[in-house]
Symmetry: C2
Subunit: 341 residues, 2 copies
Amino acid sequence: MTKVRAFAAASANAPLEQVTLTFGDLAPEDVEINVSHCGICHSDLSMLENDWGITSYPFVPGHEIIGTVSALGSEAKGLKPGQRVGVGWTAFSCLSCTQCLGGDHNLCTKAQGTIVGRHGGFATKVRCQWTWVRPLPEALDPATAGPLLCGGVTVFNPFYEYRIPPTAKVGIIGIGGLGHMALQFANKWGCEVHAFTTSDSKTEEAKQLGAHYVHNTRRDGVLKELAGRLDMIVSTINVPIDVDGVLGALAPRGRLHVVGANLQPMPVPAFSLIFAQRDVSGSPTGSPTLLSRMLEFSARHGIAPMTETFPMSKVNEAMEHLKSGKARYRIVLENDLSDEA
Amino acid sequence: MTKVRAFAAASANAPLEQVTLTFGDLAPEDVEINVSHCGICHSDLSMLENDWGITSYPFVPGHEIIGTVSALGSEAKGLKPGQRVGVGWTAFSCLSCTQCLGGDHNLCTKAQGTIVGRHGGFATKVRCQWTWVRPLPEALDPATAGPLLCGGVTVFNPFYEYRIPPTAKVGIIGIGGLGHMALQFANKWGCEVHAFTTSDSKTEEAKQLGAHYVHNTRRDGVLKELAGRLDMIVSTINVPIDVDGVLGALAPRGRLHVVGANLQPMPVPAFSLIFAQRDVSGSPTGSPTLLSRMLEFSARHGIAPMTETFPMSKVNEAMEHLKSGKARYRIVLENDLSDEA
């Protein structure tokens, strides 16, 4: 029996309150982690508010976890006690289906999210299957690395999975929590990088993050000027985009890749796909090996999320700050909770 | 000066009437072909009726052309007089852009359709750039091969371009002019083949053409039973499809590929793409090398369109038959015109 202090919401939209959880025996494949930091992702907010109808309460958010291994189940592989690790969106996959055996554990239909029917990282400890506990390269700062584990791998995914060449011209729609990491990845991947934003105030920062060109999509004709030029556009926003205009900015064989989850269907004109052999695709975070490749790439290239830090005890203020849309660009909670109540 | 007899329409929806065209000197890169057979594609009808607003009149349809080389321009490469050849949707590309130099001549933005601003194959002779004149393998019957050049390569494209493995499970929506060739390609490609139709009368024929399973999508629950199972679904129809349902039938990393051109945008739910890393794509016919690969594959595997033959002099009856939706499955015109008026 392990006592764990955590921030939990009793129901949708209720404030997060300190509670004590009791964990039973550690399952053979599980790893227990002492949480040192935890990023806040927009999906923590969506889950807190039960936007997707899959939240169970009491709900403990948090799935951009950095910490150290405190205990290993008897069948947990490849890790040792005290090791610095990270955990992202996924906490479990079946390991035996076609997707898992093929390396696509994130596409396992039995995969469990770290905060879906489980307790997340706004806590002193968290547990998950060893597969999803990824060693953190030494060069990465534990205080800022958390957001790489979910937001980071989400935008890293299309570069690796579709083998985008460094000769490609890549656009990033939305310069926020995900987009500001996507700009860094795209730049270090060697691509020509275009940032799309509706906010002129982000222009200089977008350039510092790696954009070679910054376009304000509120201005008429921006997409038309780029007609047929970009090889991939990654949309990180969760509001409707001008699908027809964005597709028009894609070169032949170009790809619009969406990682921002808008519930309204996208109106995709078939002719625009057919005419230039274009693709529209989406992806969920990344596999265990992709997580490690992304962390290694980030370490080698000095890629790091720009973060604002809150003590975990001020989590409700931090959530309000996220909600206000003013976070620049990702919030990380530093753990100041103690296992003692 | 060459006199050519052709069937032309004077305006949208006017009947096709015999006319005499005068061709000037043969351009250096052009090839002149004596047309022996010409398939009728649904896009001949769309162009005749100016559905896409790009038709110029007098309009000579026909872009599934089989014939023999009658004359070669001074710079025409790789062909000899008398050789049996085929021509499809495209008659010209610039040869110098990134797409052409990269082998994607069909994605050249300066490409010209055989019947777009040019005279097509409902004629004694047709001219086009040597690039698009593809030698016909001996094993293919000139009387039925025409439809391979446009409809055939259109549905062959995704198998080759996306390197679909023979282990894949593939669905074909619409068992008509395109779909009945897609079933043959999918079967000979080695895949598990699912035909989707709204017409029970096509079940037996779909099986003979290569389908292992035939599904009537008018029946409730058909797509749900297949949830998460298919690796690629090719939609050949030009009416709206149940996008959400079709995407749901795709396995992780599955692809919905559209070659049927419906003018209404497809409502694509982002979540369905994101959740299972799915793709929606489209493509236009195929490149010169793809045309030749498709012809060679068809010859080796005995793939042939099922055709109904009309003499070219009865072209208006043939067009009516196409319009009625009763063609099983593709119409070919046999040339009975003479260069003499």
